[in-house]
Symmetry: C2
Subunit: 179 residues, 2 copies
């Protein structure tokens, strides 16, 4: 069922080939699973590219109660993220966005995952795990070895189950905010 | 003495003006202080741009005992960092690199600081603090409100003094490494 181009392990990635990155990001759609959603079977897909409808994203973030952010700033953040991952299904030929995460990166050593969200109706069905595993796989494809994130207390266990470690060797996540 | 173009607070930053970012990064040099270095007074400067000699950087990282990294990967990381900050002085018309830090960012909401290093001969003289304060100032100029980093145990106090907070509201820094 999966029609992801699975060349993660058998193709040498050329670090200098920006076109390669672009083509890869444009074309990948992965079938995740089908779900029973209110008595109706729907197919859930994942894709990795920057073409996201910002209003769909706003609606998704709104569904989990996040503070609304200026759409202009969201656009800049999306444009300057290394990886954008979306979960969606089709309804009347329209994509319905139900999951999202993005990562900033130096494209080489480190990446940091931000804005991970799954629509409440679709939580606790393995979709977040599938999305996050795919992000890790994708970042590893680009030979990025340190994947970081900042986890709220209630999702620490979720990330632990994915293999994330808290404060390795006493390294602490620290934040600076404007007063 | 300072000839930094100090328009941090009195000029509205146009988020869409990529040229503005480029020009700003190309031209800024800031005088930090003069130091007595083995009986000789030297002027220490800071600049923010991507034109860094990678072998000078390697030498600097080597001086603090960091593991050597492939120069090709370092170049990609530099090219894809949002902010590169260098401390240096002039010796025989050549720049001597004595401090460095870089930040990845989505250019909008978040930034993460990596690879902060001060040459051992120049530590404990306020230079690291000056470098870090300038990075914060610069990121704030671009209206980035969440500045993050991962601190080794021995530098946590240093960052606390700069206003960084550990695990705010229980948010934990987490890492994923390949097995």
């Amino acid at each position: 069922m999966t029609f992801w181009k699975s060349f993660f392990n058998n193709k040498q990635y050329d670090q200098n080939n920006a076109d390669n990155i672009k083509i890869r990001k444009e074309n990948n759609i992965l079938f995740i699973k089908n779900l029973n959603n209110n008595g109706r079977l729907i197919d859930i897909y994942l894709n990795i590219n920057n073409h996201i409808n910002l209003y769909d994203l706003e609606k998704l973030c709104d569904s989990v109660g996040w503070v609304k952010r200026p759409i202009k700033k969201v656009k800049i953040a999306i444009d300057n993220s290394f990886l954008i991952t979306c979960l969606f299904y089709y309804q009347n030929n329209k994509k319905e966005l139900i999951g999202f995460a993005r990562a900033t990166s130096d494209n080489s050593f480190n990446a940091t995952i931000w804005d991970f969200v799954i629509h409440p109706e679709f939580q606790k069905q393995g979709l977040g795990k599938a999305l996050m595993n795919q992000m890790i796989k994708e970042l590893r494809y680009y030979d990025i070895s340190t994947i970081t994130l900042f986890a709220d207390p209630q999702v620490i266990k979720f990330y632990k189950n994915l293999g994330f470690i808290i404060d390795p060797d006493g390294v602490k996540g620290m934040f600076w905010y404007p007063l």
